[in-house]
Amino acid sequence: VDEQTDEELLGEARASSDPGLQREWLNRLFSRYHSRIALWCYRVTGERESAADLAQEVLIKAFQNLDTFRGDAKFSTWLYTITRNHCFNDAHRRVAQREHSMDPLDFDMPTSDRFDVRLEQDQELGQMRNMLQDNLDETEQRVMTLHYGEEMPLDSITRLLGLSNPSGAKAHIVSARRKLKTAVGRWRAIQARRGPA
């Protein structure tokens, strides 16, 4: 059984008309992922009890949506998508429910590191993407993607990416924003010299 792929185990379950056998095949399949789901949920929440609840909810959601798995992607990718989306949604809900909720994107950034990143046109968006690609290292890009693109809390990002520096994701954001501030300033100076289009 251990040599069977995930998709083969699921195929056995789907082909069986015996509920007991179905249960057995599916149990074998999902048991392969208990540790991975537990790990992911723990990294998002940072707390055992809530991670255990979250992981159980992921398993239930996966079971309830098993019919939607068509085999176009790997089973592991399909299950990852459910785990990721459920955990990210839970993290957003937790942030929103905090009594003294701060905008997760607006933590205590030093004033000197703030800069205007309002983008007026799609062209500026493309320029900003090029700047972050050219100026930030890979870890900084991942941290910024999870924080600004996915609105994930900093402590979750620190655990998800395994950042071992003392201040975790926050240090990478501060560093990335300083680099972007310089790059944006350079770009805007060039634009100003060129004059209005």
Partner: protein
């Protein structure tokens, strides 16, 4: 100068060319010379969002538990049960698992 994070958010969110992670992962699994793989690699090389998504997927699949996580993960895993109650889907023979809801979810409104 005023602060507006919406520009940063826009820059780090998926763009119009970004595929859902399951489609992206499937295309990355095609042979290296295939059109699908080359297109996916070209996109990923210039897209921080998709590189991050792929990295997280690979982390999930690898499932490597760090030393400081082991106790917690073992404890959580020990509490997990594969949902056990199913009913057979009568049309088509496709299994349709419908597990018992855990206590916490039963108490939630529909």
């Amino acid at each position: 100068m005023s602060e507006d994070s919406s520009g940063l958010s826009a820059a780090f969110k998926p763009g119009p060319d970004c595929l859902p992670i399951d489609d992206l992962a499937r295309n990355m699994d095609f042979p290296p010379e295939s059109v699908q793989r080359k297109a996916a690699e070209e996109h990923v090389s210039g897209c921080a969002h998709c590189r991050t998504e792929l990295a997280l997927l690979h982390e999930f699949v690898a499932g490597t538990v760090r030393a400081d996580e082991k106790d917690a993960v073992d404890w959580i895993e020990g509490r997990l049960t594969t949902p056990q109650r199913f009913h057979h889907d009568p049309d088509g023979g496709r299994n349709c698992g419908r597990p018992d809801m855990p206590r916490r979810l039963r108490s939630l409104p529909p």
